[in-house]
């Protein structure tokens, strides 16, 4: 797989100013939601961003779709930098980068029929010459997501959560995007429905060959859909690797803590001890942000931010004690 990546993100930073400036000129406090994130996604590949609330995973997705403004770094789609484009220069690219949101109740306009909802993106991007052509495309896409084309006439309130999420997916797929960013796309669904929608997302991704950035807090879901996985903690990627590397050879103390914390139906995995409290992104710990919770932490962890260490085969871990950690393999 030496092909150039579809998306190449380098040193991405998204910072937010907090509140007003302090008196006596100590300047504005800054929340570094995303602070130096680099990764790439190949054509047809699914990369998951996983982490707990406040780690910045959603902000990465929102910055790449220009819903937030990047404070630094670059993101190249097919070699073309997209973060520095003006909004009007970026507009044609919106068709290529599409987003599926978490809440199927909030992300559909209740006053539009399904046909109107799906015709809107076609109209904006000039993808259908007339209503007949639009209706044909809409019918085809509804079938693709497992819905009867006749539902076109109906309104969102007539659908269950799972069906609404299918409509949200149809709205994305009808544009034939090259990169789909799915932000907690199945988190609001019941387990039995979540499985249906996950199967659908997997099928559509395979059949269309679209690349995907799959953002989720659920490690079970992530293991099911991803080719590669990036684990985020407090605005940074602490470990990135293939699905097998992350789930079978986790090589960052935080990844191990995460994996061992999942309540299991079949008992067995030894719990990794969590020594501290989740950190606050507004006042991150010095050095490695994970050090207050880490049993491997030493002085260097408190003073210096660890760099990503290559472990072979595109597997990287940002930990000062990688050698020790690998000996300790649970």
């Amino acid at each position: 797989m030496s092909a150039a990546p579809l998306l190449q993100v380098e040193d991405l930073k998204t910072h937010f100013a907090l509140g007003t400036a302090r008196p006596f000129g100590s300047g504005r406090r800054v929340l570094k939601a995303v602070d130096g994130v680099s990764f790439s996604i190949r054509a047809g590949e699914v990369l998951s961003l996983v982490g707990e609330s406040g780690c910045g995973k959603s902000t990465v997705g929102r910055t790449l779709t220009r819903l937030e403004t990047a404070s630094g770094g670059t993101a190249r789609l097919d070699g073309r930098e997209i973060l520095s484009l003006s909004q009007s220069a970026f507009r044609p690219l919106r068709r290529e980068i599409q987003m599926i949101f978490q809440d199927p109740f909030a992300s559909l306009n209740p006053r539009l029929t399904i046909e109107q909802t799906l015709a809107e993106p076609l109209r904006i991007h000039g993808l259908a010459k007339n209503r007949t052509e639009a209706r044909a495309l809409i019918a085809e896409t509804l079938q693709l997501v497992g819905l009867d084309p006749q539902v076109m006439e109906r309104f969102p309130h007539e659908f269950s959560g799972g069906q609404r999420q299918r409509i949200g997916i149809a709205r994305v797929m009808i544009l034939k995007p090259r990169l789909v960013i799915a932000d907690e796309a199945v988190s609001a669904l019941d387990v039995s429905i979540q499985a249906q929608v996950l199967n659908l997302i997997k099928d559509l991704q395979r059949d269309s060959g679209v690349s995907m950035l799959f953002i989720s807090h659920d490690l079970g879901v992530v293991r099911h859909v991803s080719d590669r996985v990036a684990v985020m903690y407090l605005g940074r990627i602490v470990e990135i690797g293939s699905r097998a590397d992350i789930f079978e050879r986790p090589s960052h103390p935080y990844t191990r803590l995460l994996l061992s914390s999942i309540p299991r139906i079949v008992p067995g995995r030894k719990r990794v001890e969590d020594l501290g409290e989740p950190a606050n992104a507004a006042s991150p710990p010095s050095g490695c942000a994970f050090h207050p919770r880490c049993k491997f932490a030493t002085d260097i962890c408190r003073s210096a931010q660890p760099l990503a260490q290559p472990l072979g085969n595109e597997h990287f871990s940002a930990c000062h004690h990688i050698a020790e950690l690998q000996k300790d393999h649970a």
Binding site: E52, S160, D190, H224, P263, E277
Partner: protein, 324 residues
């Protein structure tokens, strides 16, 4: 005798002058010192059942239409209101999913804990504050003497849920009802709250009724499990027995639907169609429209609970059939 015995509890919602049944006669028991898990998807009636036990449905559009709730040998549904109020929040306490909205943002957490102590015990304000600090220490909040004066927004989500637990434990309850207590929390925080609940149970001997949609949470914390679907308990068994031999096709379908982090599967075996809404009309077995092995009898006759073993029951005409 069981600490809590719910018998044939039926609940209906008043809609436009009509009563629409939503919980169709559920029966279960919680033994002293044990944990019962109630698992099910949205609209299965698991939360309504717990609110009914806590007496929190009064004054709403929801009515208990039949059945009994025996707590410590007394029927909560026929007990005079004053006697009932003395039990609720003291001998029987509840924690909720959302620790942010369950705490009052304008009062310090210590005051909120003290309030429930003062409600039920004849103590001075100073004594109540001392007890609040003691409770914060019990739920492993660091620096309890300082934290007692914190406002909810100054605490993290995990710490707020610890405060809620401290408040529930204020009067040494015999039964703690926990409705999705860790659903809003991150997985590393969830692990610690579940550990805390187990440790507190060992220390105090309280019984826990844990409501959750997460089979992993249930498996890790419960002694016994009841699975609910469309306002009915469709399977009940000791946890180890349930997770080794699931008899009801819904329970098995739920298991097969979960993508787990321990292994890879090519395709999830999703249950087809959608989760029925509470109050929807369904004939025969409520699960038959989604069941892969439904036969004609399943759409005609609602199955009764059949014993799969002395302690394991399933409401299915063909329980345990084609068990893999």
């Amino acid at each position: 005798m069981a600490l809590l015995e719910v018998k044939d509890l039926a609940i209906a919602v008043a809609v436009g002058g009509q009563l629409v049944p939503v919980v169709h006669g559920v029966s279960f028991t919680v033994e002293a010192g044990k944990t019962l898990g109630i698992v099910g998807e949205s609209g299965c009636g698991k939360s309504l059942t717990s609110l009914a036990i806590m007496g929190l449905l009064e004054g709403s559009q929801v009515r208990i239409t039949s059945g009994s709730i025996l707590f410590d040998g007394q029927d909560m549904l026929t007990l005079p209101a004053e006697r009932r109020r003395a039990i609720m929040g003291a001998d029987m306490a509840m924690i909720f999913q959302e620790p942010m909205t369950s705490l009052n943002p304008v009062y310090r957490v210590g005051e909120q804990i003290a309030e429930s102590i003062l409600q039920h015990r004849k103590v001075s304000k100073a004594q109540a504050r001392e007890r609040a600090i003691e409770l914060l220490r019990l739920v492993r909040i660091p620096d309890p003497e300082g934290r007692v004066d914190s406002f909810p927004h100054q605490l993290s989500g995990g710490m707020r849920q610890r405060v809620m637990i401290a408040m529930a434990l204020a009067c040494d309850p015999k039964l703690l009802i926990a409705d999705e207590p860790t659903t809003a929390l991150d997985v590393t925080v969830q692990a610690r709250i579940l550990d805390l609940l187990k440790e507190l149970q060992d220390e105090t001997g309280m019984a826990i009724m844990l409501i959750s949609h997460d089979l992993g949470v249930i498996a890790e914390t419960c002694d016994d499990v009841a699975v609910m679907y469309w306002g009915k308990i469709i399977e009940t068994a000791p946890a180890d027995e349930l997770f080794s031999t699931m008899a009801h096709p819904y329970t098995r379908g739920l298991m097969a639907s979960i993508p787990v982090s321990d292994r890879e599967v090519e395709r999830l075996e999703a249950i087809p169609s959608r989760v029925p809404m509470l109050g929807e009309k369904l004939d025969g077995c409520a699960f038959h429209p989604r069941c892969g092995r439904a036969r004609p009898i399943c759409s005609d006759i609602d199955p009764v609970a059949i014993a799969v073993s002395p302690s394991h029951f399933a409401r299915c005409h063909f329980p345990g059939e084609d068990q893999a």
